[in-house]
Symmetry: none
């Protein structure tokens, strides 16, 4: 068990490289990720990174898959709780608030990897996995179509906060998600459907234009 020199198969090595990659991307962005930076961060020889991950894309895939556990993981954990069954929009809005209000590094890291799929087809399956997983978790409390729309809206809201530097407005997020829930004209108190009906006012369109 003593540390063998020149271990033949070091299964931790690969994981340590992925962890280091996440730290590098978190600190310096994907643009700062290179064989060198990750090797230095992981404290492994340069050749080791190219050996375990033939290309940076391959490393990014592993990193993205691991990063996906962030928001998605928390959401799946809470998906079981009665709180979420009781009021999906408010539960999601609160979760977003906690996530985005905490250390921004993790949030930016996760989104940067996710958005990188735009230009790296290799990452798309992983991005799709993430969307699927979150959608599925939400579909415990609503239908699939609504779940997917909720995910899209959450993404859009988060992006507006992250990209424009705007403040996160939890009440706004909750209300808009509540609107997305399927109409329940006949069952006004259905707990699975989410929040209570949105207040009638809200900056209604009135007679603009």
């Amino acid at each position: 068990m003593a540390a063998a020199r020149a271990r033949r198969h070091d299964p931790e090595r690969r994981q340590r490289i992925v962890d280091a990659a996440l730290r590098v991307v978190g600190a310096r962005g994907i643009a700062g990720l290179s064989h060198r930076t990750v090797a230095a961060e992981a404290d492994v020889p340069l050749g080791s990174t190219t050996y375990h991950f033939a290309s940076l894309d391959e490393l990014l895939v592993a990193a993205l898959r691991q990063a996906n556990e962030g928001f998605g993981g928390q959401l799946r954990e809470r998906a079981e709780l009665p709180e979420m069954a009781a009021g999906l929009p408010s539960a999601l809005a609160r979760l977003m608030g906690e996530w985005i209000g905490g250390d921004r590094t993790g949030v930016e890291l996760e989104y940067e990897l996710y958005l990188a799929a735009l230009r790296r087809p290799a990452l798309r399956p992983v991005a799709a996995e993430w969307t699927e997983a979150v959608t599925e978790a939400l579909s415990r409390h609503t239908d699939l179509v609504t779940a997917r729309a909720l995910v899209a809206l959450m993404d859009g809201i988060c992006l507006q906060v992250l990209l424009t530097g705007a403040e996160y407005d939890e009440a706004y997020a909750r209300d808009m998600m509540a609107r997305l829930l399927p109409a329940r004209p006949d069952i006004p108190g259905d707990p699975t459907s989410g929040e209570a009906p949105v207040s009638s006012e809200t900056p209604g369109p009135s007679t603009d234009t």
Copy 2:
């Protein structure tokens, strides 16, 4: 092939560099944008790019500002049309479909520049400008809060298509946007508010368009 040498006074130079930058980003991504690539694409001396844009960030700002005219420009143009007043969700869903269904290069280009604001604070004001402009255009037909949510949802839907490789589903987009519109329990047929009330369960594509 050699362009005119010794082009001492070239007032269009700056604009040509921005155009070239957009072409480069469109073809090779932001990662492929460098003073060298843009200089070659614009057929100007290398020093000319650094002279007109002291840093790449500066060039990206100019490029993003110009790219913002893409979707946002079309939306603002159509914002005047009665079609949009008649049915905001279906008009927006159609516009998205046309945009995303056409040449993907422009779409990806625009989104890549937009999303780059995540890691480049210099781009955030421009990203905010874009959001503001689109929101304002939409607010001709609905309230500001709803407009902002519509933009967020559209962003989220587009991203899902672009990032996961999913197909764009116009009916789904329309129905979800329709749900976002403020509740009008008393005025079921308000034309300014957009579509007719959506069918109760799930957003079947119904028979639009």
Copy 3:
């Protein structure tokens, strides 16, 4: 008297450029001095710096001449005071301590310009001027040869502090300078203090070799 636009002869302009050059060298070293940096610091057009100073060497000469007022200026001021006549070594050691113990920027700036003469012959006359001026000021209280040696020793002590990061030891400086004073065999008082009145005869090289 009102600020004329496009003043024909702006005598302040030249001085402002020199002042800016000193600030630039102080902050970023001679290596950081360029037409651009000094123009930016002085808030004058780039062309203005090349106009007033055809070469950087020319600008450095002007800057060094002005910087020479630092230590040398203080020394000349105090040269009149009875304190210096009473005890040259302790007065000089104290002055060095004050100079080197204060803001290091000025000290480094002055020395950097002075030492630049090593590689820039254009600066040598100015460096020689400085040495001459200080030597002459000291020669009010001792002979010329001793004065020159005192200057050399002070330079060497300062350099050791600046180059090696050592602490300045005022007592050591005072004692070593005291030893440099010409022998006063008739006043055995205290040779280490060197405070005794300077002897009339100068330290002729005697007949060694």
Copy 4:
């Protein structure tokens, strides 16, 4: 002229780069030292210089350490000789004369690297090493404090010659150094010469070696 290509394994490579750096600094000054100039001078690929020396500072450190062998090396060699024990000031003055009277390139090179520590903290430890080594060599013949002052005075005298273009005056140097030697009140013989038999106390040369 093309040297052997594909020199994959070249253990002297590093040393050759340092040698080339010294030649470059000697010929064109530190300002003329760049990865490119040194690569050309050493006839190695550009990447080789950045591989062996991650930064120019690192290269300068190696170069300074090697240059330190110049004057310091000669001094240490002669430190053993009876000549130095017999008359420290005259021996040092003669050594300085030989050093400064010979090829100025080496002298300027050594001083330029040494003085560069003023603005490059990375060089300070090496500058301190040099001072320590020379001081220690001198302390075989006098006490540490005096040795340090002798080094300072020698530095100051050399600088005056190098910076102002003055002639080196060996007799002057010898006499001033003689004054620096610790007082020997009991042997009033001739304090200016310092050649007289050294008093018993003080770390005189006594019977070392």
